[in-house]
Amino acid sequence: MHGVVVDPIITNLTVFVLAIFVGYHVVWTVTPALHTPLMSVTNAISSVIVVGAILASGPGPINQGSMLGALAVALVAINTFGGFLVTERMLEMFKKKEPSKRDTGVKK
């Protein structure tokens, strides 16, 4: 290892494996009642691939590559915005309950 630069693939693999462990443990803590919002928010998060699409669209001159990139940005932006917003909309429904929960508690 002395003086040898680690191949970026190994660094990436390290990040990948550790992130899977983090994902595994975090996702098991998600309450089953929120599994649908979990899917929509992970959908939104996977749209971070938009980062790659932006890079593809922006090297400078307009050519096939940049148009492919722009198309990818437009498609995945639907997820970026739609995914988070629809998650917000669902979670809003779960939140509204707070006052009514106390109401029923008082009535009893």
């Binding site: 749209s47 990139g69 940005v73």
Partner: protein, 466 residues
């Protein structure tokens, strides 16, 4: 911005994504988590925009996609969530393929040497074929969930199977691998041919692996595609040496994998038997043996009387309830009962809806307080002391045959409605459930059937509860 600063911002965004998932551990923290996710995404996009040479294309495309996404998010019905999620998976998959094509077209735009080194090619191959299979597979899943089977046979919710299917799939997968290897080893300048062929084959394979899977297994499929879309993002992250994409992709990939596992367990099916498909086609032979048995049926007034005099009631909603759009009526009924001092709870089977957690969202939309809604493991012990179990539009998930050896659904975890003192069941008719098996619960002495459309029946009950 220096490369180090960018990397640090990306790290920050990764942490925010993890916190977004962590927030979902409780409804009270979930919204804050979602905000973290949004901030993380905003950081990722802005930072990336600062390092590109031109931003007009990206900003324009973001605006177009953003408007579409906004409109979709605002207008989608909660019953359509499975289709929406499937559709969104397909977009992530397609974007992964387009980015990989842009890399092959001009690697230097991504800081990758030209010709592309072998390692990056392997990663591009992985990212592309997973992305393409996610794309075409999700389109099929979307069609099945949206009920487009009548217009187009590939979208049929019944499994599409043919002889030697698995052999064909295997051969196609091998062909894809061969072209993938040809792409990895191709001489500079001749990468396109094997790359495009590999991509086209992946498209076909994505379709073929989803068509044999039946409608009842959709919760597994949609979770699986969720997982794929994450791995595709990770694959592209590897090709671009971008840790943010790798982390986000792995989070999504493992989340989808866990959900697939939970769904399989809830149906007592092995993951491989779901993937190999065919479920729901050959079944149905089990019916017909028990036709003459008598059932006791009652009117909504009878039900209202029983419910009004009970101390504790557990409502078991199934997808039939959502189809009849009866959630609001049920919530009204529950409210009236609670006002009379009845302890009302809801019991949710993991596969009660069309995707994980779907029924919880449908009830939340009807403003049912989430603290009245219980998961299977948490409430099953309470059926023995409940006065009434009220089954609305559910069938297989309350079938006590699941506890009998030799039954086709033996071992499937069920809601133990049959242990309640009285069982009320609303169904449209005596037709069997998706698994095609008769349900002895309906013939028990303590069971009363109330036939009719769920919404109409429940509304009549609401009127009858004084």
């Amino acid at each position: 911005m220096s490369a180090n600063a960018i990397a640090l911002w990306y790290l920050f965004a990764s942490v925010l994504f993890i916190l977004a998932l962590k927030g979902l551990s409780h409804p009270l923290t979930a919204r804050r988590g979602n905000r973290f996710g949004m901030i993380g995404m905003a950081i990722a996009i802005v930072v990336t925009l600062t390092i590109t040479n031109r931003v007009d294309l990206a900003l324009g495309a973001l605006a177009v996609g953003g408007v579409v996404g906004y409109l979709v998010a605002k207008r989608v019905e909660m019953t359509q969530m499975p289709e929406l999620v499937a559709g969104m998976h397909s977009l992530v998959g397609l974007a992964a393929v387009l980015i990989a094509m842009a890399v092959v077209n001009n690697p230097s735009a991504f800081g990758i040497p030209n010709p592309i080194p072998t390692g990056n090619r392997v990663e591009l191959f992985l990212g592309t074929f997973i992305g393409m299979m996610t794309f075409s597979g999700s389109i099929i899943a979307f069609g099945k969930l949206a009920g487009l089977g009548k217009q187009f046979r590939l979208f049929s919710s019944a499994p599409v199977v043919f002889k030697g299917q698995q052999m064909v799939n295997l051969l196609i997968a091998i062909a894809m691998l061969v072209f993938g290897i040809l792409f990895v080893t191709a001489a500079p300048g001749s990468e396109w041919m094997p790359f495009l062929l590999m991509t086209a084959i992946a498209f076909v394979l994505g379709i073929l692996i989803i068509i044999p899977i039946g409608g009842a297994d959709m919760p597994v499929v949609i979770s699986m595609l969720n997982s794929y879309s994450g791995w595709a993002a990770s694959g592209i992250g590897f090709s671009l040496n971008n840790p943010l994409l790798i982390v986000a992709g792995s989070l999504v990939g493992s989340s989808g994998a866990i959900l697939s596992y939970i769904m399989c367990k809830a149906m007592n099916r092995s993951f491989f038997s779901v993937i190999l498909g065919g479920f729901g086609a050959a079944e149905g032979a089990a019916t017909g043996t028990t036709e003459q048995k008598a059932v006791r049926s009652g009117s909504p007034d009878d039900v209202a009387f029983l419910l009004g005099n009970a101390e504790s009631v557990i409502i078991i909603p199934g997808y039939g309830l959502a189809v009849a759009r009866a959630q609001h009526a049920v919530k009204e009924m529950a409210q009236k009962l609670i006002a009379k001092g009845v302890n009302v709870r809801y019991a949710i089977h993991p596969v009660a809806g069309r995707m994980p957690g779907h029924m919880n969202v449908l009830l939340a939309e009807a403003e049912v307080p989430y603290d009245q809604v219980f998961e299977m493991e948490d409430i099953n012990g309470d059926f023995g002391t409940a006065d009434i179990a009220f089954v609305l539009g559910a069938n297989d998930v309350v079938n006590p045959l699941a506890e009998e050896k030799g039954s086709p659904i033996y071992g499937m975890p069920i809601l133990e409605a049959h242990k309640a003192r009285t069982v009320l069941v609303n169904k449209r008719s005596m037709a069997s459930g998706y698994a095609g098996i008769d349900n002895p619960l309906f013939y028990m002495d303590k069971t009363m059937m109330v036939f009719g459309d769920a919404k109409k029946v429940v509304e009549d009950i609401v009127k009858a509860i004084e």
